[in-house]
Amino acid sequence: MKLPTRILTFSTIIAAGTMAAGYGFNNQLLGALLFVALGLLWLVGQRYRQPSVAALSMLCFVVGAVLGAWYGVKSGWLLGGVTAALLAWDLSHFVAHVQDTQNIENARALERAHLQRLGIVGGLGLLLGVLALTVKLTLRFSVVIVLGLAAVFGLSRLIHYLRQESD
């Protein structure tokens, strides 16, 4: 159980660090300090096993990334922060779940499989995110609207389907 816990702590520090660095380099010290404080709060929440802190922190990081983009913070830092926050959010749930269950057969293999998948997902997400940030396409406003609507509709259908499947 040591490895996931270490990666969890590391991801939290990376998430807070990259967001703080992004805000800091943009001369927004208050924002940087807020993310440092948020990172510390998240670490304390992990220490005392408070799952709600993970969800709240994740939400704050995403909102912080959106606001950062609005205030002109470099997107690379923000994307890194969001990806690291996603990993930390996942691992805080995983660690708490494993600690609660106790009786796990071949726990190491289970940990390894989880970390492997999370690594692939995180890496792929970051890669595609960086690609999206670097590739520039010029689209007309109407096309953007249509694409946006299609994305929202598609996502809503997907989530509806997923929820049905999950039930």
């Binding site: 996603l86 995983f94 057969e105 595609l128 929202v152 997907l158």
Partner: protein, 428 residues
Amino acid sequence: MRRLLFLSVLVYGTIIAGLATLRGSVVAFAIPLAIYLLAAFIYSPEKPRLVVTRTLSATTVNHDTPVVVTLTVTNQGGRLEEVLIEDDVPAGLTITDGEPWLQTALPANGVIECRYTVQGKRGNYAFRYLHVTVNEHLGLFQHRGWLEVPGNLMVFPESLRLKHLDIRPLRTRGYAGPIPSRLAGSGTDFFGVREYQLGDPLRWINWRASARHQHALFTNEFEMERIADVGLILDARQHNNVFVDQNSLFEYAIGATAGLAETFLDDGNRVGMLVYGRGLEMTYPGYGKVQRERIMHALAHARTGDSLVFESLDYLPVRFFPAKSQIVLVSPLREDDVPVLTRLRARGYQVLVVSPDPVTFEAQQYKQDTAIEFAMRITRIERELMLRRLRRVGIQVVDWKVDQPFDKVMRASLVRPSPQIRIVRIER
């Protein structure tokens, strides 16, 4: 499910924020989240096809004996990345070793075993459901369900063993046993002398008596030893039961009844049992180990209860017990039980009352003060007078203070000369 919803809202929110602000970079922040969601969806588990069997190391055990429960799960479907099985352990059983749940990965046709050890107080414990949760590694999509995997564990009550118990019912049965039958025949105890008859063994001739008569020989007679019918009555009337913290006086009565049943059955007697309280729960008379099992089953299920009909012993089904047999009543006793027991005695039953003392038992929970002591003293005197009235009509009474060993109390009470005789001597 909450995590799935939370992540979906984040993805939605980020995309909408990106569209609203016309900033592609904001939409790009949603990509890692969307990939996470998509990966979870791709690996979402199919509906599990599991076959589960439950094995108990023993289905009937004595009080507080550990029992190993083994659950064998076979996966007849595709690979399950993470499966969590949780057994529904019946209330009242304590887990002493292992855990009733197990999380693991389960390949197609894979088999896993989950073992844990339980123990419990007397009763019947029915295992029924096994909860199964299957999810992919990221834990967003899962199938929850339960499987019916029945199992039954019967825990017999703690039996307060007795070495031997001397009873003398008026009527015995036709088979050899340990109880003096009040009839002459082959046996070991001297019974009387009669005139010699052809065929009597020479060593049975009473030479001392024969020497006093010139033309007659006399033969010793011995008392036949037979088995007897014993009827056990367990008083399960709720208002007779006393609770102190988690302890109930009824549990002691159960232990005593179990011990008495085992002792009488070990001696070869025919034993029946009646639990009198909520209703009439009868175990018809029988012999041997099978009967022991039946009585223990009945005792494991026995509960106190209230019934208007069976509030007093007036409706005791006397015909359930063979005429002139031995009746053993295990009860804390009440004042209005005395006439009923007197009537039983008058009908020719040999009655033994084992009475767990409710006064001493209840006194444990009170702090010592003058008023309580005074009240206890009055209650004790009332009880002693009630027990004396029973003894006067020839009923054997064992006043059992439950903190004392049952065997010791029984031996002391049944060996001593009847208190009735002592009282008579005092009066004279």
